[in-house]
Amino acid sequence: MLKSLKTFIQIHRSIKQHATLFSLIVVLFIFGLFLEAYMHDFNLVYITLFFVFSFAFSAGPIGVLNLGHLKSTFEPSGRLFTNQEGVISVKITNISNTTSWSVILYGEDSSINIPKVKEDSSLVVQLPYIPKKRGFFNYENCYLESRYPLSTARLTLPIKETYRGLVFPEPKGITLESFLNNEEKYYGEEKEFDGLKEYDGTQNITHIHWASVAKGELSVKHFTKETETQNLLFDFYRAGSNDEARLSQLCLWVLECEKKYLAFKIDMPKQQLDSKKENTDEILEKLAKY
């Protein structure tokens, strides 16, 4: 019993309470009922009044216990890029044996509605987040809020932990494909099927489309690219007009290369980044920290 009381006091201290508009309505309703009961000696009104009063009174501890048993921790989130919507993951654990209801997780500039967190369980919620600049950042001032049970009070439970994350440069610029088209040297063995063309005797016979031959036509496969380059090298200084533009461009190419499983190198001032030696995240981190 004493232990429970101690726990409750601890929980109570960690939660902030703010009155809502509905608390004013309840006060007015209680006052109205009080007048009705007092002026006319109506015991039924007294009973209603006392019920409303007791509900409002018990709503406090019920709301505190509803929210107070929730523990929140930041989870490793996905990649975050400047000016692009990403997510901050928060793991919410309910350590009590009763379900917590109607909770809202507030981030720095977004919120997520969580209808319930079942007893003895946890869930991961993702807060949308758009970073404004690259580099390390601290995500803080997050809190859980609940108006359970009567909406008369807004209870908030701050998440004391601060999330330290890294924002990569905004991936933007010309696409890898455009870049490669403009390059003198072709890279890799790349064939991109564009459609069928009529055979005029000049094309490579290995490109003959045999299925059309069977139909009585003689077509050849036409490819937009038939390139073969051995090295894919991005140069920092040639990637853009200023540092931020360069980093954004490189970031875009790095992501595209990752997507296409292409090996690449980046010539950075004083160092070279090699995808065969470092993984994409490490390369992106270096770009972010530049």
Partner: protein, 657 residues
């Protein structure tokens, strides 16, 4: 219960929208007000309801305006005649108008299918307004139900429309609040403003067997009704049966077929002294609508009831007919005689008789006068004469000859009930020069009492004689002179006695409960509060009982809270396993969400294979669990076995620890 559970489960699956929850709140809060709605408003509400049922999309502005117009017409027609600016000063009419306006506004907003702030708070306004109109036990029960449902709907809204879970939470919150409500209700300071009398009367039926006159012909007011006329709560115990005479009216004038009181003016002087002999008893009366002016007090009244007149014959009346339950505190001296002086009017009235009307009785009276000289002797002689006449008490008497009613009763028919006995006795008493009169009222039946509670029913209406002897008015029970009781009556009495004594007892207990609820809840007041405190001051035992009762209430609330707060499991078997799973969790073995019980236990067994006994029990638990869950064996025997195994497993674990 099971049906309700099923219903809630069904609802749980589909979860109710906020609009549906709001509709449910409206149904509950409007229900009591529906009774008072006038036909045009009922029609208006039916139209709105029909639109809501058949039109699934929000209605157009034009239709809303049309509905508004119909609403205004409905209000006009409902209050037509009653409405005027002057009428607004009458609170009831004003409140009625408020209810109508609120219904129209709510209907218009509801038709848009959009929830706004006013739509949310209106059910609570309807609740507050309905409390103005009703004040009964039914409403008390309904108000508690209504408060519960409204809380339920609020919580259901907060819990995404989950009815079952919100019901559990509502029960928890309700039980948290209950002890507070009880404490506040008892101790919250009250003031002694009078209880407002406005509201709907409803009750127009009279509940009495007593009337201001007493007919002895076919118009005789013979009420065999079991309806309660009044309920009496004595401050101490219920007095003996022989003292339960409730005084109604005094009759002096013999009008052949009936007896009448004296003309108004002659009895209007107020009683300013009270008898001092007899045991003083205090009691409180709840008098149900009689549509008459009499208030009933035990013979002989020892005080004047507030706002009433007690005349020189100890008859208590109010100015207006009693058309709604009335509550009054009274005090009486339980005596069958009291000292009084006779003024000339009363003396004349109480000695008057027409000797030509009942010549046979007159002749007997003359003989008595000749032989006996004192009033007491003459009274004794009349009693003997009545007894010698072999009179029969019956509720089915033969019709008397009204022109000579006393002669007809005493010499011819010889059958009658209280009115016939009293009428004849008073006539003969006057003939032997004893001033006498008839008193009508109620003679309560003590078998209708429980603890300090007494119910007085219509069938307890009675009349008796009062004789002026030695400057005292003396009560005389005239039916005691009956030599026989009619066989039918006896059978009826025996039947009543034997007819389901258990039912009678239950009925009495129900009446008693109802009375106590009315006294201590509905009409609990500043006076009751003081009375309770004073009683507590003088009775430490009462304080102990009160504290124990309150603690019991807290325990009951706590148990209910624990019951409704318990986690819900997907199966009963899983619920049985919970103590074991908790114990294992304490030891660091936590079952992940996706791990089956079988898998979890196997993993545990593998890691603890050296604990042979413990492992054996766990294996048994595993088998039993599988058997219940997957082999369809959900018999109590298997469940009990599983429970036992869990217990023994826990025991083994504690022993090990």
């Amino acid at each position: 219960m099971k049906f309700l559970k099923n219903l809630l489960n069904i609802k749980q699956e589909r979860k109710l929208s906020n609009l549906t929850l709001l509709d449910m709140a409206y149904v509950v809060s409007l229900l009591p007000l529906l009774v008072m709605l006038k036909a045009p408003m009922v029609l208006f509400m039916s139209i709105v309801l029909a639109i809501l049922i058949f039109k699934k999309t929000p209605v157009s502005q034009k239709l809303i305006f049309f509905i508004f117009s119909i609403g205004v017409i409905a209000v006009y027609l409902s209050l037509y005649g009653a409405f005027s600016f002057r009428g607004l000063s009458r609170l009831k009419l004003f409140l009625e108008l408020l209810v109508y306006i609120l219904i129209i506004v709510v209907s218009m907003q509801r038709l848009t299918k959009e929830i706004n702030f006013y739509l949310i708070i209106s059910p609570f306004l309807f609740l507050a307004l309905s409390l103005f109109f009703y004040h009964s036990i039914t409403m008390l029960i309904y108000v508690i139900f209504e408060v519960f449902v409204l809380l339920w709907m609020i919580l259901a809204h907060r819990m995404s429309g989950d009815l079952m879970e919100s019901f559990r939470s509502t029960m928890v919150m309700f039980m948290y609040s209950l002890p507070w409500v009880v404490v506040l209700f008892i101790f919250f300071p009250r003031i002694s403003f009078d209880h407002a009398t406005y509201g709907f009367k409803g009750e127009i039926q009279k509940h009495t067997g007593h009337d201001g006159t007493m007919y002895i012909d076919g118009n005789a007011l013979l009420v065999l009704s079991d309806r309660i006329v009044m309920e009496v709560g004595f401050d101490k115990e219920v007095p003996p049966a022989s003292k339960l005479y409730f005084r109604g009216s005094t009759l002096y004038i013999d009008k052949k077929d009936h007896w009448e009181p004296l003309a108004k003016n002659s009895q209007d002087e107020s009683r300013f002294f009270y008898p001092t002999n007899g045991i003083k008893t205090d009691y409180k009366v709840t008098l149900y609508p009689t549509q008459k002016k009499w208030l009933y007090m035990l013979d002989v009244p020892g005080m004047t009831i507030e706002d009433s007149l007690l005349n020189s014959d100890f008859i208590s009346t109010v100015k207006k007919n009693i058309d709604e339950p009335m509550h009054y505190a009274a005090s009486s001296y339980l005596t069958s005689s009291y000292k009084d002086t006779l003024n000339s009017t009363v003396y004349k009235a109480s000695t008057y008789y027409d000797k030509s009307q009942n010549p046979e009785t007159f002749l007997v009276a003359q003989d008595i006068i000749k032989i006996f000289h004192t009033k007491k002797e003459r009274l004794s002689a009349i009693t003997d004469f009545f007894k010698n006449q072999s009179l029969t008490y019956t509720l089915k008497p033969d019709a008397l000859d009204i022109n000579r009613s006393t002669d007809s009763f005493l010499f011819d028919k010889k059958r009658g009930y209280c009115v016939h006995f009293t009428s004849s006795f008073v006539t003969m008493a006057r003939m032997v020069e004893i001033p006498s009169r008839i008193v009508t009222g109620f003679k309560a039946d003590k078998s209708e009492s429980l603890n300090s509670y007494l119910a007085v029913k219509g069938k307890n209406a009675h009349s008796w004689a009062e004789l002026y002897i030695d400057k005292h008015w003396v009560r005389y029970e005239t039916t005691a002179t009956a030599s026989n009781i009619d066989l039918d009556n006896q059978i009826l009495a025996t039947k009543n006695k034997n007819k389901n004594p258990l039912l009678k007892k239950i009925n009495l207990y129900l009446m008693y409960t109802k009375y106590q609820v009315e006294t201590w809840i509905l009409y609990y007041s500043h006076i009751r509060q003081l009375q309770l405190l004073n009683y507590a001051k003088n009775n430490p035992k009462f304080i102990i009982i009160f504290v124990i009762t309150f603690i019991s209430l807290i325990i009951l609330s706590f148990m209910t809270i624990v019951y409704f707060k318990r986690p819900s499991y997907s199966s009963e078997a899983l619920a049985i396993l919970q103590p074991l799973l908790k114990a294992l969790k304490k030891r660091g073995y936590i079952r992940e969400k996706d791990t089956s019980i079988h898998q979890f236990l196997l993993e545990y067994i593998e890691k603890n294979s050296h604990q042979v006994k413990h492992v054996e029990t766990l294996k048994k638990i595993d088998i039993l669990y599988e058997k219940i869950l997957y082999s369809g064996d959900d018999s109590n025997k298997t469940k009990l076995e599983l429970k036992k195994s869990v217990k023994s497993c826990l025991k083994l674990q504690y022993q090990k620890n």
